[in-house]
């Protein structure tokens, strides 16, 4: 089997996903196109070599509808010969897009492809593409559908994380993200989003609060308590996990991932493609895996899929230098850390979505790029990237520097 390598990656900064967010004026297509232009410019890439653009997008409707991958590639000037496909596995779509690009290279079917993703949550809106599994009684009931926040609270309750625990994790995320920016760790990969005149619209992640502290977070009310109690979801949670007598609601906007706009792209190719481009590979995509897991906990898939991807890579936990797990909710990360007894110093070392936000379809590609930069900066070798996914799924990828 051929090997797939990462040759480059970029991401936009993440803008607050509301009407007053800096990227609200930028269309989803343009956001995606800017990452593709950057990939092209940084390597002076002959884009005719690109055989596919795979973009994750979770709400592919409105301006993001009708295959935004092909649309963004066309807008970026990749020309008529470069096809594109949009995929959706909820929050892991961006990582899945990279995995799918890699899979095409590994299969020998393609030499060079781009994986990435885009989400303008301020313009399209979460849930805009409909939500059959949440609304259709014939599936929603049997699959224990709950809003993710309630599932995150169930995880916290079941595995014993207090409000203090989740808030403390949030403070750490903000501190780490802020420090990373201050030390310039993100500079090589974050491309400023610019207007048509070349003026910068946004250059840095917009939602980091370096001053976040326990006291400030403590003043926030649990966001999912009312929904859980009045909407019946707590009863669903305790039905599915009867060892939990009641759900302790600990999550709020301050310890959950932020709603933001953003895009990312990763250039993936074979050794041969590297030669054709005249570029050295930065890392090998060693293995990837997808999994379905507990529907009610919903967000513990990373634990299961980590075990699976390690098996596929014939590696052990100790072979991984850095772990990057999307910070959908603080309890998701704390459970992961607990399940594998991980040293917090090797997990989400530069902060994550609690501080910087989670542009759904793009995040997977973003965090893969972030951890690759960190491996290079620290001279480490291997990283495992994973995300929890709605409907109880999980996706993971192991990369290894070459």
């Amino acid at each position: 089997m051929a090997e797939a390598f990462i040759y480059d990656h970029v991401r936009t900064p993440r803008g607050k996903g509301k009407a007053d967010g800096s990227l609200h004026e930028v269309t989803a297509i343009e956001l995606g196109a800017q990452t593709l232009r950057a990939i092209r410019q940084r390597s002076d890439l002959d884009v005719s070599l690109v055989e596919d653009v795979v973009f994750g997008c979770v709400d592919p409707v409105g301006e993001a509808g009708a295959d935004i991958a092909r649309t963004a590639a066309l807008k970026a000037g990749y020309g008529k010969t470069v096809p594109g496909v949009q995929i959706n596995r909820f929050c892991a779509s961006g990582l899945d897009a990279v995995n799918l690009a890699a899979a095409q290279v590994m299969s020998g079917n393609k030499e060079l492809a781009i994986g990435g993703g885009v989400e303008s949550m301020s313009r399209v809106g979460m849930g805009a593409s409909g939500f059959g599994i949440a609304v259709d009684p014939s599936v929603a009931i049997d699959t224990y559908f709950m809003p993710q926040g309630v599932a995150a609270d169930l995880i916290a309750t079941k595995f014993g994380f207090s409000r203090n625990d989740v808030d403390a994790y949030s403070v750490q995320s903000h501190k780490r993200a802020h420090a990373a920016w201050e030390k310039g760790y993100f500079n090589s990969s974050v491309i400023p989003v610019k207007d048509i005149n070349g003026l910068t619209i946004l250059a840095r992640d917009e939602t980091i609060r370096p001053g976040a502290d326990m006291q400030g977070l403590a003043s926030l009310k649990p966001a999912f308590a009312m929904m859980g109690e009045q909407g019946g979801f707590d009863a669903v949670a305790t039905f599915a996990h009867p060892d939990v007598e009641f759900v302790n609601h600990v999550h709020h906007a301050g310890n959950s991932s932020g709603i933001v706009d953003g895009a990312a792209a990763v250039l993936v190719g074979s050794k041969k493609a590297g030669k054709a481009m005249g570029k050295a590979p930065r890392a090998r995509i060693k293995a990837y895996a997808t999994i379905g897991s507990d529907l009610a906990l919903m967000l513990t898939g990373p634990v299961d899929v980590t075990e699976l991807v390690l098996k596929k890579a014939k590696m052990e936990l100790k072979d991984i230098d850095l772990f990057e797990l999307n910070e959908a909710f603080a309890s998701v990360v704390l459970r992961y850390q607990q399940a594998f007894d991980l040293d917090p110093a090797c997990l989400n070392v530069n902060g994550g979505a609690i501080a910087m936000g989670h542009p759904l379809g793009a995040t997977g590609a973003m965090i893969l790029g972030m951890v690759l930069d960190e491996l290079e900066r620290t001279g480490k070798q291997t990283a495992l990237i994973t995300l929890c996914v709605a409907a109880g799924m999980g996706v993971a990828t192991i990369i290894e520097r070459v």
Partner: protein
């Protein structure tokens, strides 16, 4: 026009009046003949150019109709089963589907015949009858306080399958429609209009004229949803509004039903899918779900127990036929404590006079004050007027004078549950009552035959076991002592019917029927605790199995010290092997050492913090000799155990002759202790699984968990012979 169940006349204005008035029935009911008449009427109205529209009303003075004849639906199931055997699954299902949606198609034909129909409703109009009304283009109900409309099908495991879900959800906001369909409540005239279910509320004399006027004024014969540009009350299903409605609706279904009621889930799906379709297709989808639900075990069992059997028992099915009608004007209640006070209230509330006697005037007055309190609560809720309270209190005479009992037609003794106290009181009462007066003793634990020994007339002596709180619990156990005669039984049944509760008649044995089953449930909870099952899972298993509360909660409500007392008494009487010493040790720890006696002590298996929900006592796990991890516990097994232990006890009461009629075990278990209603009751649970399967399950449980799960001989033999409790009763 030949009609068997309707009168049909057309006035000078060309407005037809179809008056539904079935001969030989006090209430109209939808039968195949009624459906055929309706078809004729619809055809006549549609085709006769001289007829402008039609008013449908009832010829019965106090009611429109109670709905469809459920035996008609049962008959369909029998035919289906026959066809499966003779022609195969698919042709049988095809027949069943078409037949089960005939009523829906008939109503749709009425709705789309081109001429306006008006429903004029006085009194009850429920189920299929209200679905008929919903298919009419205009609905007028009377302002009579007895008028009720509604779709109560879900209460017997069905759902409104003749357009009810589709029309309700097109008339009302989706959330309101779902709530109405879920609850199956009967709705009075004015609220029905406010909900948008009917158009006008009028005095009954004015209704037909108003209906005619509406047609004359050009009332449309096209339903709103058949008009172009019709907008759903809650907008589209797939919309931000829909996201606010559907996920919580699905979750609340889980919360309210624990997933045990397929009919309620079918309501959700019918509405969800139907609202995305034009009316005819929406009705078709509703029919598909209806055909499925109609064939469900839950529907079969719930219809049998909660409709048929309940109706039979409420009508006095067990009353000795030869006994003449009794005259019940004045009831003596002796003992004005919590039970006696409740008995006095329900008796006076039913219009009877009550002589409430206790040892002194103060105690008697205190008992009467309970009625004052209950009526005041009703007044606060707007369900009664001050005058009602005064009238009810006037019917209760509180006194310490036993001689007042001479006026009574029936005596109910409700003094402290102590054989000595009871003996004394029985003798004292009998010194004052008229000879031949029926004497009922309220007891939950003392054998009636024993108490009857205190009486001069054991044939007139009977047990009446009320459940607590009396005013809320709908079941009454009537206990036959060895010598109790038919006159006493007839009187007891007449009394229970008069207070609008459901009687079951059981023979004398320790614990009678209901309490025996319940004790098994609670004891199984102890067993699980001792095995190391996490307490939250024990409680969840009880609820998920369909019980109103978990076994530990129930124990807290009853009080742990009571259980310990019974256990110690049993040990003294029957020796140390008669009880489970491990269970006793745990109770001794809880009650004697820790004072955790239950809700009354604000601590038991649960803590009861002020102003906050109760929570399992965190240290309970420390009393457990073993601990299982959640993933080691099989919830299905727990649920099976909790239901099977009760069903087995019920089966034993049948073998012992305590219960002689399966209807009583089933109705009694649901009304008495909330046994998983979707099963149809303790014996129907066995039959729903199949007796053979149930026996096999219990044998397996006995192997793993102990001989308490061993099926009794009669059950085993019945299972082997492929028999059933109901078939056996019918044969006898």
């Amino acid at each position: 026009m030949k009609l068997a169940n309707f009168r049909f006349e057309t006035d000078a204005d060309g407005i037809a009046l179809a008056t539904w008035d079935m001969a030989g029935r006090s209430m109209n009911v939808i039968t195949p003949e009624v459906m055929s008449d309706l078809e004729t009427i619809i055809k006549a109205v549609a085709e006769d150019a001289a007829i402008k529209g039609c008013v449908i009303t009832s010829g019965k003075p106090d009611s429109f109709s109670g709905g469809a004849d459920l035996t008609m639906l049962q008959g369909l199931g029998v035919e289906y089963a026959r066809l499966v055997k003779s022609k195969g699954e698919e042709p049988a299902m095809s027949y069943f589907f078409e037949e089960s949606r005939k009523l829906s198609l008939l109503f749709r034909a009425l709705e789309t015949c081109g001429k306006p129909f008006v429903a004029v409703i006085n009194g009850v109009c429920l189920g299929g009858a209200f679905e008929l009304a919903l298919a009419c283009h205009h609905r007028i109900v009377s302002d009579d306080p007895k008028t009720r409309v509604g779709l109560p099908e879900v209460k017997v495991g069905l759902f409104p399958g003749a357009g009810g879900t589709q029309r309700a959800a097109r008339l009302m906001q989706t959330g309101d429609a779902l709530q109405m369909l879920f609850k199956g409540e009967q709705i009075k005239g004015l609220p029905a209009r406010n909900m948008g279910l009917v158009h006008q509320v009028l005095p009954k004399e004015a209704m037909v004229e108003a209906a005619r006027d509406w047609i004359k004024a050009g009332g449309s014969g096209v339903a709103p949803w058949d008009e172009k540009g019709f907008k759903l009350p809650s907008n589209k299903v797939h919309s931000p509004a829909g996201m606010q409605i559907w996920p919580p609706a699905n979750a609340i279904y889980r919360r309210e039903t624990q997933g045990n009621y397929p009919a309620a889930q079918a309501i959700l799906s019918s509405v969800y899918e139907g609202l995305q379709l034009p009316m005819d297709l929406g009705l078709r989808v509703e029919s598909r779900y209806f055909a499925k639900i109609l064939r469900s075990t839950e529907a079969a069992m719930m219809i049998r127990t909660l409709f048929m059997s309940m109706q039979d028992l409420n009508k006095g099915a067990r009353r000795p036929k030869a006994e003449p009608a009794t005259s019940l004007k004045t009831v003596g209640v002796v003992g004005a404590g919590f039970m006696g006070a409740g008995v006095a209230y329900v008796t006076a509330n039913a219009g009877m006079n009550v002589i409430l006697v206790d040892r002194d005037q103060e105690a008697a007055d205190k008992g009467k004050a309970y009625s004052h309190k209950l009526m005041s609560d009703q007044i606060m809720k707007g369900r009664a007027k001050t005058a009602d309270r005064e009238a009810l209190l006037d019917r209760i005479t509180a006194t310490a004078d036993y001689s007042a009992l001479a006026a009574c037609d029936l005596i109910i003794e409700a003094v402290f549950e102590d054989p000595k106290v009871k003996d004394e009181v029985i003798r004292k009462i009998e010194g004052h009552i008229r000879p031949g007066t029926i004497f009922a003793s309220n007891t939950s634990t003392l054998p009636i035959t024993g108490l009857a020994k205190s009486s001069k007339a054991a044939d007139k002596f009977i047990g009446i076991h009320f459940f607590s709180p009396v005013e809320k619990m709908m079941l009454v156990e009537i206990i036959m002592g060895k010598k109790t005669g038919d006159a006493a039984l007839a009187m007891a049944i007449d009394y229970v019917r008069a207070i609008k509760k459901t009687p079951i008649v059981v023979n004398d044995a320790r614990g009678f029927f209901a309490n025996r089953c319940v004790l098994g449930y609670i004891a199984e909870g102890y067993e699980m605790l001792l095995e190391g099952v996490p307490p939250a899972m024990i409680e969840a298993a009880g609820r998920q199995a369909g019980m109103p509360v978990g076994p530990l909660s129930l124990n807290d409500e009853i009080a742990l010290d009571l259980g310990l007392k019974i256990m110690k008494a049993t040990e003294v009487q029957l020796g140390p092997n008669a009880i489970d010493q491990r269970q006793k040790a745990m109770l001794v720890e809880m009650v004697d050492k820790l004072g955790r006696m239950g809700r009354k002590a604000k601590k038991g298996f649960y803590d009861y913090p002020e102003g906050a929900p109760k929570r399992l006592w965190p240290d309970l796990v420390k009393l457990q000799p073993a601990h299982l991890k959640p993933e080691q516990v099989d919830m299905t097994m727990l649920k099976n155990r909790l239901l099977a232990i009760q069903a087995l006890e019920a089966a034993r009461t049948v073998e012992e002759g305590v219960v002689t009629d399966p209807r009583e075990a089933d109705v009694g278990s649901i009304l008495g202790f909330g046994f998983a209603p979707y099963t149809g009751g303790t014996l129907s649970y066995i039959e729903g699984l199949g007796a053979a399967r149930f026996v096999a399950m219990c044998d397996a449980l006995a192997k793993s968990y102990g001989p308490r799960f061993k099926p009794n001989k009669q059950l085993r033999e019945m299972a082997k012979a492929g028999g059933s409790y109901y078939a056996a009763t019918k044969a006898a």
